[in-house]
């Protein structure tokens, strides 16, 4: 496929007391500019703990050009540069994949991780993070707290209480860490309970949820160069409202187990050897019991999703070349049934419908990375091969009279792909202050469970039942990024990145006529089946400035813009009975759910011997007028919001933090927020609300 373009990944040469910028791992564009915090590298957890956020997706929205699709009060689904869902590879601890249960992504991967156990989140934009797995548009890597060796037997305690007003929420978290030089244990427990929130005009949004969880991690350190880790993480969600979806999450029980080994400088040849084995089990139950439609049919769905995997990497040097080679295998199994209780009919008939029928996906990946520094140049490249195979049991849909509406035999559901991905990047250091990076990448993503096997559910952005298509092909992203960074002690850090993506076989839905397939869900317009549409293009830029120590106050600015276009798509015109009466080909139609341009600014400082910290942030988002005609996407007005935060560190043990979000009680909603189901009402973001964090470290 055609590799288009250029990129400059900004690259900062050396670190020079600049904690804000992590040294970039060639080709990987690591976005470290969490807007609130100047010293991200060591304070990412602190950044999250001092804020109002309670969810990974919410936290990610503070990064430039990272957004989220809101369907409820929590579990916001990350969107990176307009790429969403499985176009982004979301992993835990560098490789653990967790497949959510819900076809409507109530429970994206990020929702299965105990938020308060996360020590940092890194985003790699573009198809460049190929060592984390197959990737199309970006990688989100969540790192949990790892037990560390203790020089002498000791115990550490960390406790935190968060309270919110107007969102009526509170969360409690406590962790214990103890150990000896050769072994240590980390354990934590948390609970969160949030009520509805109110938008800027005082409208109540149904956003209640409850979460709790437990984490246990055990680390062994037989020698300074070797460590073994065992992780067990369990998180439970209950009664999570999703007003933008046809159902609410009644419960979600996820369990993750992992074992990892890390060896450093094993011998003269092997620099690092890593092994990761994991198992993730998600049981997701959702229903429509809190919806008006439950007066006639009570629908309860239970989905079980199991993800297993193993990943290993080996790093070594040959001459002056750095090499990393690795292999990974992932398997995903999913099975789920929707039970419909016809509660207005005699004898209370129950209809069972399969959502997934024993669907499985296997992916074997092999990858190699090479890096080489030559004078003022740094070259690197990754090559990746994936063998992806999927199949499902019979896909069968029957109507209440037991007549088959749709049938696909198990034999015809099988598909397999050989995918080749690769990246190449070069950094050039013009001098000590300026560096330029150009990265070219091709990422290939095989279709996911939903796109292959979903059986008639309204899982899209529009009001259609969607049908999986086992014959669908992988999406390919050919991307070029070019970045320029400038860092000067008396100016600060400036960086700008431009990107261009050319995506082929972009996956969308095409409408089926009623004679081909009738919908199963109520109040939908019809049925769409996933297919490979025409080429799509993404382009945009990100600008970032950090004053470092130059200005009296630490100042950070970020501007980001993305434009997504599909070369050709069909628009459907409907009559009063919602029947398609005409189809029109639209050229260069904007893709749906692309965030508008936004500006972020944050000013912060410390007073009273650095015991008092004060921060104020601004966010200005332009109206999104570039909307999809084919999807009848609505324009979104722009908005301007402000937040403030003040914290006081009494000592090394105790700190308090107070803040306010949406200070001026603005009525607004993000372009990516889904509509309230059954209406055309937007899903408003919270109005003004206050929060506090009480933190204790012993």
């Amino acid at each position: 496929m055609v590799l288009m373009l250029l990129l400059i990944a900004m690259y900062v040469k050396g670190q020079k007391n600049i904690d804000t910028v992590m040294r970039l791992n060639q080709v990987e564009i690591v976005d470290s500019s969490v807007i609130r915090i100047p010293q991200l590298k060591n304070m990412e957890k602190v950044d999250m703990e001092n804020s109002s956020v309670s969810d990974v997706g919410e936290a990610l929205r503070s990064l430039p050009n990272v957004h989220g699709i809101r369907k409820g009060g929590t579990n916001i689904d990350p969107v990176v540069r307009g790429y969403k869902f499985d176009q982004i590879n979301v992993v835990l601890n560098g490789g653990i994949k967790i497949e959510g249960g819900c076809p409507n992504r109530m429970d994206p991967t990020s929702s299965h991780v105990n938020f308060y156990d996360i020590r940092n989140i890194r985003v790699i934009k573009g198809p460049f993070g190929l060592t984390y797995g197959p990737v199309l548009g970006g990688v989100v890597n969540m790192q949990t707290i790892k037990p560390q060796p203790f020089l002498q037997p000791d115990i550490k305690i960390y406790a935190r209480k968060k309270m919110l007003w107007n969102r009526e929420g509170n969360s409690n978290f406590i962790s214990f860490e103890g150990g000896i030089p050769k072994a240590s244990l980390y354990t934590s427990i948390y609970q969160s309970s949030y009520g509805d929130y109110f938008s800027g005009n005082g409208e109540r949004m149904n956003t209640t949820f409850e979460k709790k969880g437990f984490t246990g991690a055990l680390g062994f350190f037989p020698s300074p160069n070797h460590r073994l880790d065992f992780l067990m993480m369990r998180s439970l969600s209950e009664n999570v409202d999703f007003p933008a979806l046809p159902m609410d999450e009644r419960s979600d029980d996820s369990k993750v187990w992992s074992f990892s080994y890390q060896g450093k400088n094993i011998n003269a040849f092997v620099k690092n050897f890593d092994l990761l084995i994991y198992y993730a089990d998600v049981t997701h139950i959702m229903d429509n019991k809190n919806r008006p439609f439950s007066d006639t049919v009570v629908a309860i769905s239970q989905i079980d999703a199991i993800t297993k995997g193993v990943k290993s990497t080996l790093a070594f040097d040959i001459n002056t070349f750095d090499f990393l080679v690795g292999a990974e295998h992932t398997s995903i199994f999913k099975d789920g049934t929707r039970k419909k209780h016809m509660i207005l009919q005699p004898q209370l008939p129950i209809k069972n419908e399969k959502i997934w029928n024993g669907a499985e996906i296997y992916n074997l990946g092999l990858f190699a990375k090479i890096a080489k520094q030559m004078d003022r140049f740094m070259f690197s490249g990754i090559a990746r091969y994936d063998y992806n195979q999927a199949f499902s049991e019979d896909i069968l849909v029957k109507n209440p009279n037991d007549v088959s509406l749709f049938f696909k035999e198990a034999d015809s559901t099988e598909s397999s792909f050989h995918n080749i991905s690769g990246t190449f990047g070069v950094d050039y250091f013009l001098n000590d202050d300026i560096s330029i990076n150009l990265s070219l990448g091709r990422g290939v993503r095989s279709p996911n469970m939903l796109e292959r096997f979903i059986i008639l559910l309204p899982v899209g952005f529009d009001d259609y039942d969607y049908l999986g298509n086992p014959d669908i092909l992988p999406e390919n992203n050919n991307e070029a990024d070019i970045s320029l960074s400038y860092i000067k002690q008396n100016i600060g850090l400036l960086s700008i990145t431009g990107f261009y993506s050319y995506v082929t076989d972009y996956i969308l839905g095409e409408i089926l006529t009623p004679t081909q397939q009738k919908p199963l869900s109520k109040d939908v317009l019809g049925v769409k089946r996933f297919y490979n549409a025409d080429e799509a293009y993404f382009k945009g830029f990100e600008f970032y400035y950090n004053s470092l120590d130059v200005l009296p106050f630490n100042t950070r600015l970020a501007v980001a813009y993305t434009d997504g276009t599909i070369k050709q798509n069909e628009q459907y015109q409907y009559n009063d009975q919602n029947e398609v009466i005409e189809r029109t080909i639209i050229e260069d139609d904007p893709l749906p759910e692309i965030p508008p341009m936004e500006f972020k600014a944050n000013i912060s400082d410390r007073f009273l011997n650095k015991k008092l910290s004060v921060a104020i942030d601004f966010r200005y988002v332009l109206a999104q007028k570039r909307t999809s005609l084919c999807f009848y996407e609505k324009e979104t007005p722009g908005f301007f919001i402000t937040g403030m935060n003040a914290g006081y560190f009494f000592d090394d043990v105790f700190s308090i933090n107070f803040g306010v979000e949406n200070l001026f009680d603005e009525l607004y909603y993000e372009h990516l927020n889904r509509r309230i189901i059954g209406s055309n009402k937007p899903f408003y973001e919270p109005g003004r609300y206050f929060y506090s964090n009480f933190i204790l470290r012993l």
Partner: protein
């Protein structure tokens, strides 16, 4: 130090107490009246099983009552059909003593009378 221990104790107690199952049980009562002769009845019991039975009624004042405890989100369901054209039927579902849903019919032997729903969440 004392305040630190107190803080930890507060956080721990919040977590521990929140992990205990809250008792949100509701008292559900099914009531059928106004029938003057036998009718077929089907209802969901406290174990969410569908029970079918015949109910002998002598006069419109005769009451059939069934009570049980249930949780928010549980389905409640009563359906009945009478065969005497002179008869009638009224079905009520009460939650914690308040009428949640009710329906009645008179001189209609063709249709089942069904009252159902989901116990509302708070």
């Amino acid at each position: 130090m004392r305040i630190h221990i107190l803080f930890i104790a507060v956080i721990l107690s919040f977590v521990v107490f929140s992990c205990q199952k809250e008792n949100n049980a509701k008292l559900v009562k099914y009531v059928t009246t106004e029938a003057i002769s036998m009718y077929d009845l089907a209802y969901l019991n406290g174990s969410s099983q569908l029970i079918e039975q015949k109910v002998e009624a002598q006069s419109a004042q005769d009451k059939w009552v069934y009570s049980f405890e249930a949780e928010p989100g549980d389905i409640v369901y009563v359906s009945a059909k009478y065969y005497d054209i002179e008869s009638a039927l009224k079905i009520q579902i009460l939650i914690d003593g308040k009428v949640y849903k009710e329906k009645s019919s008179r001189n209609d032997t063709t249709q089942y009378l069904t009252v159902s729903g989901v116990i509302p969440y708070e």
